[in-house]
């Protein structure tokens, strides 16, 4: 394809498309420090506060944005850091959604095809197959299949819902990086410099007696501490539990600070909101329906776990005594 045939503005909005890669290849550029610096800037912005839309609307700016993305992926491939990888996947997918929300259906189709998602449109509503939907639907109660119109293998979505599903597809794709062995000194230097911008505190610095937590809560904390993205309701459940367990905002912030999309203000607002509303801890049945229950603890609510555990241990000790007696 001739270089002039690429729609650079479109590709700068969605630099993860195969077409964008073709464009970069067509430039036949040497990977020099200036390109790597573009990638570094993109990573800095993504890690710190999320990516912002392109301001200068000219060919040079579009081209640099595409190159910045390509370079950032190269740096990420060499940077074995799951937190950064997930945080950037979120930043990139959120930026993409900003553009997706203004696209016409024809362009949305082009992007969806990249993820093997096909859809039809009728009266401004989107019809997509249930398997594609289930693969990429956000883990959020509003996107739970039970509440989504489903018939003969098709789900019916609004355009806004479709763009949210595409955002998830993009995020999932960008969390996977091709293994690259090429790690020049410059890349190593950039990784070293950027590493200093990551929060350094560790969860174990605050006093958590993890023995006291039920398995579902332990898992949520473990996921966050490994920077695995936890669903909205998982975070709400965790925040309610920690508030009830007597944790301060600061202590809760520390746990949430490892979330790939962590933002201090948003987290603080949500913790305060949950405190103000004094929500009850979700029941085990609710936790189960949200996909958060992972063990049969024989209690009806995670906050009752300790009491049930003590009761269970007490019963077991009686049984053990009985057995000994029989012998």
């Amino acid at each position: 394809m001739n270089r002039n045939e690429f729609n650079l503005e479109f590709l700068s909005h969605y630099p993860f498309l195969a077409e964008a890669k073709k464009y970069v290849d067509s430039l036949k550029l040497e990977l020099d420090d200036s390109i790597l610096e573009l990638g570094k800037k993109r990573l800095e912005e993504g890690i710190a506060s999320g990516l912002k839309p392109i301001v200068e609307l000219n060919e040079e700016s579009f081209k640099n944005s595409i190159l910045a993305y390509a370079a950032s992926r190269l740096i990420l491939s060499n940077w074995k850091n799951i937190y950064i990888r997930q945080r950037m996947a979120i930043a990139e997918s959120k930026l993409a959604r900003h553009y997706l929300s203004t696209e016409n259906f024809e362009n949305l189709k082009t992007i969806a095809e990249e993820f093997k998602i096909s859809f039809s449109v009728e009266k401004d509503l989107v019809y997509i197959d249930v398997v594609s939907y289930l693969k990429y639907a956000p883990k959020d109660i509003h996107y739970k299949l039970l509440f989504i119109p489903l018939k003969e293998g098709k789900v019916k979505l609004t355009k806004d819902q479709l763009t949210r599903v595409l955002e998830e597809a993009i995020r999932a794709r960008l969390e996977v990086l091709a293994p690259v062995s090429l790690a020049s000194n410059k890349i190593q230097q950039i990784i070293k410099e950027l590493s200093s911008s990551i929060p350094k505190h560790r969860i174990d610095q605050i006093k958590i007696n993890s023995q006291d937590f039920p398995p579902c809560i332990k898992k949520l904390i473990a996921q966050l501490s490994s920077s695995i993205n936890v669903s909205h309701y998982g975070r709400v459940a965790l925040a309610i539990y920690l508030i009830k367990a007597g944790y301060s905002n600061e202590q809760i912030q520390k746990i949430f600070s490892f979330a790939p999309d962590y933002n201090f203000e948003t987290t603080n607002y949500q913790i305060e909101f949950i405190r103000k509303k004094n929500y009850n801890m979700f029941s085990c049945a609710t936790m189960d329906s949200l996909g958060l229950c992972i063990a049969d603890c024989k209690c009806s609510n995670p906050s009752l776990f300790r009491r049930k555990l003590h009761l269970f241990n007490a019963q077991k000790s009686v049984l053990a005594e009985d057995e000994e007696y029989v012998k």
């Binding site: 289930l134 489903l150 019916k156």
Partner: protein
């Protein structure tokens, strides 16, 4: 035969006879993980694989295992350990329906009830999920239930979360009715008959209740002045305007829309709980089996070591009678057994058997004797 027949060995011998005469075929066998069980343990060892159905059948005929299970999953290296090394390639979408029964003997009545749930499941898979019946295979588990497998390339790649979403949909787990209602332009807007999914199911449920005089008065009583307003309620369900119905249910003289909506939802919840399984499909499938993408399930057409019955592939579900259609052994040949505990009168293989008393020696048809021996209720003595 002596009086000291070792039942596990003897049963295994009978199973070998069955396997030497019946060829069992497993779809894409080279990508499946197998597990085998003994008299005391349903899965004694797993992480076994076969390169062909021929090798698999040779193993069955040589060893006569009492339980044979294989993975719903497809793996690049099915025998590798630990699990991560198997390289998961996908998994059939599977459902396990078990009868809730206390008796040690299989209850044909409970299995019959389970069949109607299975029909419901097939209906949802077909009408809601668009899965063609030709891609669905059902088999008797060989004991208390049925397994349903969906062989569909699209569904194969779904992960655990997506499978849990499917189970939640099928069993209406976490169904919050308030999600279907909102207030707009001083109206309570909710489900309408033409809606898809649970919204449409909810509207049509109410429609059929309101159309049925005895049910309508049961739930809405005189408060609705049924005859006078029925058409208005029904029209509301057609266009999704629930205001009129909510207003009639509201006890307050001045209509507060959000209170009326809340009241309406509570009432609907009550109706659904009471009409439950008849309205919203409660299939009660075992969620763990569907969600666990590395689960082993009994291989179809192999024998169940707890019954000696065939986990038979079913082609005509309506006409299928487990205790007649899945016999592996003869009802003509007989065996002498010693009864280990009282066994109630029972229908098996088109024959009626009287109550069997503990410690007696009786002569029984081979298939029934093996059935009881597998359940450890008798010992075969000669």
């Amino acid at each position: 035969m002596s009086n000291n027949i070792e039942m596990p060995v003897w049963l295994s011998q009978k199973f070998k006879e069955y396997y030497s005469k019946n060829f069992i075929e497993i779809d894409q066998i080279e990508k499946r993980e197998f597990g085998f069980g003994t008299y005391d343990k349903k899965i004694e060892y797993r992480h076994v694989s076969f390169s062909s159905n021929k090798d698999f059948n040779t193993k069955l005929a040589q060893d006569g295992p009492l339980y044979v299970s294989y993975s719903a999953a497809y793996y690049a290296s099915p025998a590798a350990r630990p699990m991560q090394k198997k390289e998961w390639l996908g998994a059939d979408l599977v459902f396990d329906l078990d009868a809730h029964q206390d008796s040690i003997l299989i209850s044909p009545e409970e299995l019959e009830k389970l069949k109607s749930k299975l029909f419901l499941l097939i209906d949802i898979l077909e009408n809601d999920f668009g899965i063609s019946k030709t891609k669905i295979k059902i088999n008797f588990s060989g004991s208390r239930g049925f397994h349903l497998r969906v062989f569909d390339e699209d569904f194969k790649t779904l992960g655990r979360y997506a499978r849990k979403e499917i189970v939640d949909y099928i069993d209406a787990i976490g169904l919050d009715l308030s999600k279907f209602f909102y207030i707009e332009n001083k109206n309570i807007v909710g489900p309408k008959l033409s809606d898809w999914g649970y919204s449409g199911k909810l509207a049509s449920t109410l429609y059929s209740i309101l159309s049925d005089e005895s049910k309508a008065s049961k739930y809405f009583g005189k408060a609705l002045e049924l005859e006078k307003f029925k058409q208005k309620y029904l029209d509301g369900l057609k266009n999704g305007n629930w205001t009129f119905l909510a207003a009639k249910l509201s006890k307050s003289p001045t209509l507060n829309l959000s209170n009326a909506a809340k009241n309406l939802i509570e009432k609907l919840q009550l109706i659904l709980e009471r009409e439950g399984p008849n309205i919203f499909s409660k299939v009660d499938t075992d969620a763990n089996v569907t969600v666990d993408t590395s689960k082993l399930l009994r291989a179809e057409n192999t024998l169940h070591g707890g019954s000696g019955l065939i986990a038979k592939t079913i082609f005509d579900l309506a006409g299928f009678e487990p205790l007649k259609d899945s016999l592996a052994f003869s009802m003509k040949k007989t065996l002498t057994v010693q009864v280990l505990s009282d066994i109630p009168a029972y229908e098996f293989g088109n024959m009626s058997f009287e109550k069997l008393e503990k410690q007696k020696k009786v002569e029984l048809p081979e298939a029934y004797a093996i059935y009881l021996a597998c359940k450890k209720l008798v010992l075969v003595v000669e």
